[in-house]
């Protein structure tokens, strides 16, 4: 037994004599210009028509290039061209097709046209789909299953090629949104806006039914709302006025897809080897997916054909002071590769970050005190042990909101009656989210004052933007109203001291949550504690995802916890969650609270088509007043992200809207190499101790055995 252990240990050391014993990247030198990162859940889709979740955007954002992008440094978030020549300005037409002025009233506008001109000379990543032989024919467009049988990844194809990006690729992708086999998550939404997309979807569905075996070639099906003007120009026709459409043009849904890739992946045997566009994307971006083993690691490598982009040189003075403009004008991207390793558990993730094996890390609230402390003024600062390691802290407010919704169809808490409104207001005060933020988030959140998170138009900071029904201003600070106010409101609502004034029965409320995981129990306990203050009984019902969705759809819940991440930085993207016609029950929209206030709906319809400016702010303020008074949600908090970076990672500004920021990232591999060696000295005494213990255990046995032998001999 001991011998095996020693043998194994010896072998283990042999395999790792060149670097630290605990290095999780054996065989790769640590001074390469490679960023090490992690992913917690394997991405489901990397096809730009299907991918929608945050963790997928980490990859698709680097690989695909839609026409527009967010400026890396500017705040508020600003759109700038990426592959386009300029940010397109819509032209408006009335029902008869006559052009209208830019300031024409929204009711007159029947159609908006976005004309996008892309820059010539942009090329795709190397990929076998583009490879041609000497005669100019595609090498890999007529493969049989046998040839594919021994291919496991894209790199197994010997030849590769590239092609220039053309406008038709963008139009091709817009058509893909309607493809029935792809079930794009935004097809339903875009069918409402892009002219002819709905019809195309139906045509394609019929065509697919008519020819179940055959593949659909999208080039055979025209789309009225997307036309190719010339090699580098295309137009998108949008129904009516939809100013938010421009933001969609910065998402991978509107990135180009070359038809060659679809033909390539449609060949027999490809899908069985996981060779599909959903797993092996083809894009024009700064990086391409070189290795895709979602069970272990995914590797992005620098695209050798990248069109070249330079680090932005227009930043604010603060950015300059923070050293964010040091790289201004330099060619992007900086890194040769990015390695993402699968890491599902928090403990290994955090430990590896501290050991220097991950270059940056978010902080879970439980590792918080080790990393961050607050200075007297309330500013977060790194602890000494972190600063000694050269770690830097980056904080940013996210364009997201967590809320507790009331089901407005519920007889107890719902409805617009004065008594129930007061009940909701009382509960809004009682749920002390300031405390929640300090216990569960360690301060990584801002108590929400309304539906619009910071960083978006319409958000007002400080005392001026407080929610007067929950908070009050005291000495220029925003303070939660005292619990007595809540008690008074509760009494006015007909529940003095938590019992119904009519029947004398105690008020019992039901709270549905999807909370699961290690933290769930404490959170649910906390919820109960909040309403204990009002003498109201809260029954918490933990539910799994499906059951929760089901309840939402049927409107069976009473109180529930939910959140929303901005799709784009416009207040419309949050207010539409409260728009009456979007009710979850009956219409299946995103308004889970089933809130329906005619005045609010009217203002929303006006606000959504307005351009940012004082007039819009005025409408928004009116809308805020209505939702704060009606309190269909308890506005819980806007989450903040706190990220840690090792000293060898150069200054970078977090930009929660832009997903393609890896190209701006730069590291100092030499510093990393020396730090890793310094931090990972193996501690050997436990091995010695173990050996000693074994000897101590075995020696008396051996002696006894010797004695025994002598006796019997």
């Amino acid at each position: 037994m001991t011998r095996t252990v020693i043998l194994l240990l010896g072998l283990g050391l042999l395999g790792g004599c060149s670097d630290s014993w605990n290095n999780p990247y054996p065989g790769s030198p640590s001074d390469v210009n490679v960023l090490y990162s992690a992913f917690g859940e394997r991405p489901k889709h990397l096809d730009p028509a299907r991918s929608y979740s945050e963790n997928e955007a980490e990859f698709t954002g680097q690989i695909y290039e839609p026409p527009l992008q967010y400026h890396f440094l500017k705040r508020p978030y600003t759109l700038v061209p990426l592959t386009a020549e300029a940010v397109p300005k819509p032209r408006y037409f009335d029902a008869a097709g006559r052009p209208l002025a830019d300031d024409a009233p929204a009711a007159q506008i029947a159609r908006s046209v976005y004309e996008i001109r892309i820059r010539p000379g942009i090329r795709y990543q190397p990929h076998p789909a583009f490879a041609r032989d000497a005669t100019g024919r595609y090498r890999y467009h007529a493969l049989d299953a046998e040839t594919v049988a021994d291919k496991r990844q894209i790199a197994d194809f010997e030849h590769s090629g590239t092609r220039e990006l053309i406008a038709a690729d963008y139009v091709y992708q817009i058509k893909r949104l309607a493809h029935p086999g792809l079930s794009s998550p935004i097809f339903g939404l875009m069918a409402e806006h892009i002219v002819g997309l709905k019809a195309l979807g139906e045509t394609l569905q019929q065509a697919a039914r008519a020819r179940p075996a055959g593949k659909l070639d999208l080039n055979d099906f025209p789309l009225e709302g997307a036309e190719v003007v010339d090699r580098y120009t295309y137009r998108i026709h949008v129904k009516g006025k939809y100013p938010q459409f421009i933001y969609w043009l910065a998402m991978p849904f509107f990135a180009p897809v070359p038809w060659e890739a679809e033909v390539f992946y449609a060949q027999p045997g490809m899908a069985d080897r996981n060779l599909t566009l959903d797993w092996q994307p083809v894009g024009t971006g700064p990086y391409y997916l070189a290795e895709n083993d979602p069970n272990r690691r995914m590797v992005l490598r620098k695209n050798p054909y990248f069109h070249g982009e330079t680090y932005p040189s227009d930043g604010s003075d603060e950015d300059r002071a923070a050293g964010l403009l040091a790289d201004a004008g330099k060619r992007l991207p900086f890194l040769d590769a990015v390695v993402f390793s699968l890491e599902k558990e928090t403990i290994p993730y955090w430990s590896k970050f501290l050991q220097g094996y991950y270059d940056s890390s978010g902080i879970s609230s439980d590792s918080f005190d080790q990393a961050v402390q607050f200075s007297g003024g309330g500013d977060p600062q790194l602890t000494d042990s972190m600063r000694d390691k050269g770690i830097q802290l980056v904080t940013t407010a996210l364009p997201s909101l967590w809320y507790v919704g009331f089901n407005m169809l519920d007889p107890v808490v719902g409805g617009l009656g004065e008594d129930r409104r007061k009940l909701r207001q009382a509960l809004s005060i009682a749920f002390d989210y300031d405390e929640f933020i300090s216990i569960f988030l360690n301060g990584r959140g801002i108590p929400a004052q309304g539906p619009i998170p910071p960083g978006l138009f319409g958000y007002v900071e400080g005392v001026a933007g407080l929610n007067p029904y929950v908070y009050e201003a005291r000495d220029g600070r925003v303070v939660r109203q005292p619990i007595e106010t809540a008690r008074r409101l509760l009494a006015e609502a007909g529940y003095p001291n938590g019992r119904s004034a009519r029947t004398g029965k105690p008020l019992v409320l039901y709270f549905d949550t999807m909370a699961s995981g290690p933290d769930a129990k404490s959170r649910l306990d906390w919820m109960k504690k909040q309403l204990d203050k009002l003498n109201v009984q809260l029954v918490v019902r933990g539910t799994d995802y499906n059951r929760f969705q089901d309840k939402m759809r049927k409107g069976n819940a009473q109180l529930f916890e939910w959140g929303w991440n901005a799709d784009y930085p416009d207040p419309e993207n949050f207010f539409f969650l409260l728009y009456g016609p979007h009710k979850k029950v009956a219409s299946g929209g995103e308004n889970a609270a089933n809130y329906d206030n005619p005045e609010f709906n009217r203002l929303f319809e006006r606000m959504k088509d307005m351009d940012n400016g004082p007039a819009r702010q005025q409408v928004i303020d009116a809308m805020l007043e209505i939702v704060r008074r009606d309190a269909p949600w308890i506005f819980a908090y806007y989450p903040k992200s706190f990220g840690l970076r090792h000293g060898w990672v150069m200054a970078a500004k977090p930009n929660p809207m832009a997903k393609n920021t890896l190209k701006y990232r730069r590291i100092d591999p030499r510093l990393r190499e020396s730090r890793r060696a310094e931090w990972n000295h193996p501690v050997l005494w436990p091995i010695g101790l173990l050996a000693l213990a074994l000897v101590a255990l075995i020696a008396p046995a051996a002696i006894a055995w010797r004695r025994h032998e002598r006796k019997t001999a």
Partner: protein, 468 residues
């Protein structure tokens, strides 16, 4: 009445189980051949010590199984209303341990929180460890902390010793009278270990338990002995509440297993033929499905049921309870196969014995043969299986809660504690007390159960019994 008794499903089953066990004990006491192996168990020091520890756990578990709902203050006397919170007699006994909640983590016996906060001090806001609301609140100055802890421990020690001395005296007097011995002579026999049962171990164990209880009670009056968790709840209280969950899973699951295993196992072995084929088919199918999947599916089914019938479960406790029961049921359904297989083999052998064949030849009914000849001869196997399975089931609960298909997340259980501790270990300085407490309690229970099971097995299994 200022409270309304609540009988949860598991409470009812536990009480039924208790009644069954008592009846069995009464039955065994009256039959000498059944008593003999138990007397053998009682002579083993390890088994006896373990049994005492188990008794302590069971006592807490039973107290925690008597549930009630408190009447709300100022509710009208003609139509009394009750709180939705379900409490137990145990909660009432520990009193303040349940209600004295801090804000968040604090270390065992600490007087301050474990995390820094902004505190107003002399008009200036500084970030410091704030004082606890309850833990050590009686201390005027930090320097009194250690002496106070020592003083309380000593008092507890003395109280524990006094109590055990008193108990021992009573026991000795009673035993001496029963054995018609002089008190002194009995003491000598006790000291020399000539009582026929491990008196020294029992007395020592009892003293240890009482001293421990004394010290903890003294300290718990002024501190959080095992610290507090993330929302400031006392970890000692959580650990003690978790005992019931562990016991319920360990015992009720067996209760489900037994009829299935005994019925199917004996039937398959005794009747053979198609009965045997069908039963073998069923248990091969069940055995070959990964248990986690079965359990996950069952837990989900129960959740759907609860959610479609919210009116049946008016309190959170009832919801958590039904899930616990479902967990026991499904674990029982998946774990009867091993014992059934064993019993089948044994019955196959027994049915060929002369007296069984003779009974059949005389036309004695199958039911009678099974109950008179087969069952009594396999009973020891059943008993051994029960005690051996118990510890495995307690351990399994922790793993299932980790996977997310265990008991309800609002329920107190060691599995949930360990699950929560995963994040706490990533803190630095680490929060170790919740994991430590779960470990200590679980380890004690499982170790005691294992040692007791060893004793039972050695006493009942004729093959291994004599060889030690």
């Amino acid at each position: 009445m200022s409270f309304m008794p609540v009988i949860l499903w598991t409470d009812a089953l536990i009480l039924a189980l208790l009644a069954g066990v008592l009846a069995l004990v009464w039955f065994i006491r009256r039959h000498e051949h059944l008593r003999a192996p138990w007397r053998n168990v009682a002579q083993r020091p390890m088994a006896m010590g373990a049994a005492l520890v188990l008794t302590a756990f069971v006592a807490i578990g039973l107290l925690d199984s008597l549930h009630y709902r408190e009447r709300l203050p100022d509710s009208p006397p003609d139509a009394p209303q009750y709180s939705v919170e379900v409490l137990s007699v145990f909660d009432a006994l520990v009193g303040e341990l349940r209600t004295q909640q801090e804000k968040t983590y604090s270390a065992p016996l600490a007087t301050r929180l474990y995390a820094k906060e902004f505190v107003e001090r002399g008009g200036v806001t500084v970030r410091d460890y704030p004082r606890l609301q309850y833990g050590g609140a009686h201390l005027a100055h930090a320097s009194e902390h250690l002496p106070d802890v020592v003083r309380r421990s000593l008092i507890g020690l003395a109280q524990g010793l006094a109590a055990s001395l008193l108990l021992f005296g009573l026991l000795a007097a009673w035993q001496a009278r029963r054995a018609r011995l002089v008190f002194g002579a009995w003491l000598t026999a006790w000291w020399l270990g000539q009582l026929g049962w491990p008196g020294r171990t029992a007395a020592g164990m009892m003293a240890l338990l009482l001293v421990l209880a004394g010290v903890i009670m003294q300290l718990a009056a002024g501190y959080h002995v095992l610290g507090t968790d993330k929302v400031g709840q006392d970890v000692l209280y959580i650990s003690l509440k978790s005992i019931r969950t562990g016991l319920v899973i360990g015992t009720l699951t067996t209760l489900v297993t037994l009829p299935l295993a005994i019925g199917f196992g004996i039937a398959a072995g005794y009747f053979r033929g198609w009965v045997d084929d069908v039963i073998q088919y069923v248990y091969t199918v069940l055995n070959s499905i990964p248990g986690v999947l079965l359990i996950a599916a069952a837990v989900l089914i129960v959740q759907v049921y609860i959610e479609s019938n919210p009116e049946l479960f008016d309190t959170a406790a009832a919801r958590a309870d039904i899930r616990l029961l479902a967990l026991c049921l499904i674990m029982g359904v998946t774990s009867w196969t091993g014992l059934a297989r064993l019993l089948r083999g044994e019955s196959l052998k027994l049915r060929t014995l002369d007296y069984v064949e003779a009974a059949r030849a005389f036309g004695v009914s199958h039911a009678r043969i099974i109950s008179r000849h087969i069952f009594p001869n396999v009973f020891h196997l059943v008993l051994i299986a029960i005690v051996l399975d118990f510890s495995g089931l307690v351990l399994a609960e922790a793993v299932l809660s980790y996977v997310g298909v265990g008991v309800d997340p609002t329920m107190y259980s060691w599995g949930n504690m360990i699950n929560g501790a995963r994040l706490e270990l990533a803190r630095e300085p680490i929060v170790w007390w919740q994991l430590g407490a779960a470990f200590a309690f679980m380890f004690t229970l499982v170790l005691a159960a294992n040692l007791f099971a060893d004793g039972v097995r050695d006493a009942f299994d004729p093959r291994l019994g004599g060889r030690r």
